[in-house]
């Protein structure tokens, strides 16, 4: 199975929400979409799912048009949603029926996921004799538990293709670990997953391929390890017992951060790092730590997107009439 996005474009009014986005998933695994708020991640996902019309581009599965009504797709939206006043059991059965599941199969899956996510009590509460059974409504649950129900809705059809838009946002550490273990299980089942997140460690933990979006445009794209390699081993962390600032300034190495834990440096290449190590050694400095490494995803992200781009409020969706009319 190969999933491919080709030249996806979307404009809201005069704003270019997504500009020529292309990527491909040839093998099962997790593909990450990164970007600041309003970078176009959710808009891209909505276009892939066919919820939002696209101005240009194609979304293909095995060379054919990707239709979510024909392919078994699970979707966890960024904007979480449940009917607040309806019983959660009814809602999940409804969502399952829209995915073509029979009531029996849906009930089995609800039981499984209810236990897996520790929410069984809301679906199958203990019936007390003499008391009228009242099903649990969505608005009677905590935000975290509602999020679990939404994850259940995304997974209930055992989808072959999973789209998770900010799956871990707003979760406490315990539930974050729970969600991560579920995602890991899905990866182990050879699922195709597209994930968007702000949490760089999560992306590094799960994803092999990434696209970093900035103002709707892909600024960094490819295999995460190769991207890191392309930046080279230029991040140097040094800690000595003595003051080494004179040596650093003499060699003209730029200091990124100087903390009591050590000094973070940016070297031009490995030879510059080796040169520094030799100088320190020759000067009989006590080297506690000397670590030359590739940049982290966080560092790549900040460098490629820039802090200033964050929260500029652009392209957050259809919220002006002109956005609708100009579609």
């Amino acid at each position: 199975m190969a999933f491919e996005v080709r030249h996806l474009q979307k404009k809201f009014g005069e704003k270019q929400a997504v500009e020529d986005l292309s990527f491909k998933l040839d093998n099962p695994g997790v593909y990450a979409l990164l970007g600041t708020n309003g970078a176009g991640k959710s808009t891209s996902i909505r276009m892939m799912l066919g919820i939002l019309s696209r101005d240009n581009g194609e979304v293909l599965l095995n060379g054919e048009n990707f239709d979510t009504r024909k392919v078994n797709v699970g979707y966890l939206a960024e904007e979480r949603g449940l009917y607040p006043k309806y019983p959660i059991m009814d809602q999940l059965l409804y969502f399952a029926s829209l995915k073509g599941l029979t009531a029996d199969v849906a009930m089995e899956r609800i039981k499984y996921w209810g236990e897996r996510l520790n929410v069984t009590e809301y679906f199958f509460p203990e019936r007390k004799p003499g008391k009228k059974f009242k099903p649990t409504l969505a608005d009677q649950m905590s935000k975290g538990n509602q999020q679990k129900i939404q994850l259940m809705a995304a997974l209930i059809s055992d989808p072959e293709f999973l789209i998770l838009d900010e799956p871990l946002s707003g979760l406490d550490p315990v539930n974050t670990d729970l969600f991560k273990s579920v995602i890991r299980e899905e990866i182990d089942k050879n699922k195709y997953i597209i994930m968007s997140s702000h949490q760089m460690p999560v992306i590094e933990e799960f994803c092999e391929d990434i696209t970093i979006l900035n103002r709707g445009k892909a600024v960094v794209q490819g295999n995460l390890n190769e991207i890191k390699k392309s930046y080279g081993r230029v991040n140097l962390f040094v800690k000595c017992d003595e003051d080494i600032s004179d040596t650093i300034s003499t060699l003209g190495i730029s200091v990124v951060n100087d903390t009591p834990a050590g000094i973070q440096l940016r070297v031009k290449d490995e030879s510059e790092a080796k040169n520094l190590l030799k100088q320190l050694s020759d000067a009989n400095k006590t080297i506690v730590r000397f670590e030359l490494r590739e940049p982290s995803l966080h560092e790549i992200f900040i460098e490629s997107v820039g802090e200033a781009a964050d929260d500029d409020g652009q392209n957050t969706g259809i919220n002006k009439v002109e956005d609708v009319v100009s579609e």
Binding site: I51, F95, I318, V321
Partner: protein, 456 residues
Amino acid sequence: MNKSDFRGFKQVFIFEFLTGIKKTSFKIFIAVLCVMGFLTLPVMTIIGNIKSSDNGKDKTIEKSPIATVYVYDNSGVSVRYEELNKSEEYSEVLFVTDNSISYDDAIQNLKEDNHSNNIVVKTEYDSEDGFDITIVYAENSGIKSKDLDDFEEDFRKFYRDEMLGNLGVSEEDYKYLSKDINLSIMTMTKDGTFGEDPGRISMDDYFLMLGGLMVVFIFVNMAVGNVATSVATEKSSRVIEYLLTGTKPMALLSGKIAARLLESVITFFAVYSCHYLSQIVCLFLTAGNTVSDSASNNIIVVASIWETITFSKILVATLYFLGGLAIYAIIGAVTGASVSKLDELQEAYKFYSFVLVLCVYVDLFLVIMMLYAGGNAGIMNFCALFPLTGAFLTPALLLTGKISIVTGIIALIIMIITAAIVFVFAAAVYESMLLFQGKRLRLKDIIAIMKKQVVA
């Protein structure tokens, strides 16, 4: 629009229908209507019976509290007032007919003794205006208004009898003259169809049309409210995004509307079943001879509708009712899609409310005009054929025979075409509006979106 656009329709329909009928508001609504449907006729019958038996009791047992009646007869008719003393009720009433005190003095006496149970009756005759009878009583007397009503009724009948007696009419002739005269105005059309004047309606037809209009109004309001709330809830709770991965907006829209239509049909049949049961109860209550005319008339009026109703009329009227409901439900869906938050919905109802009130007033105007001044063919055809006004009135016009089955079918065809066009236009804007999260969309915004979508 193709078949795949309606994928998921069944699931949406089942979910919407089941959640709809589980709602407390729906249960209360159907319960209230059923209770009303069941109780109206029996209550009216019982009240009629009580009134009837009370009247009978009064006449045989209770004597009139009137003490003296001062009669000043200037009509020239020879009236034997002593005959009134023969009835039990007026056996102790003194009739003073000799003008022993003048009319002015008699009136003055009522003023001075404002608690007296005396009354003054003055009769006059004018060749142009006819007979004029004036009854005066003291404001603080012990004579109740019910006693006066009884006296007025009895005196009128007595006076009429005396007049006819003066003319030498026999008792048999009198009975003959007292028979009801039923007048029907019929028309003969160019094509030879002979029937009642379609422009005029009887009081019974008037109440039936008014009742029908109110029933449709209630159903429309319920359907619109449910559809709009459902759409707005899905938008505000963001469930819509999840739903759209499994189904299309068109399927969502049609599923919701179909569910509301089925709810309405079930409600209607439930209410009618209750009404039918109540008729059986009424027949049981009226099995004895104690029933009053007014009470039994209620049953007869309802039963008489069926004399002019055919299966084809019922079918066309039902389809028309559902079509009207669907058009208004589509307006409700667009209204719901125009808001991002549930609490904005009330504000968004403005356009719908305006259309609804305007159409209902036009229909009311027609019905009142038909009752008092006769109908105007132009207005009636407009109300029957224009889908937004016809939704409230055409089924009643058809069932009461005020429009022919042919006109009904033409109206139904127009309704179906209009509903289809409105659905296609609404579905086009609905898809764009569903993901809109911002300030409430106004009518001009919706029209702008519609233009854009239709041109595209």
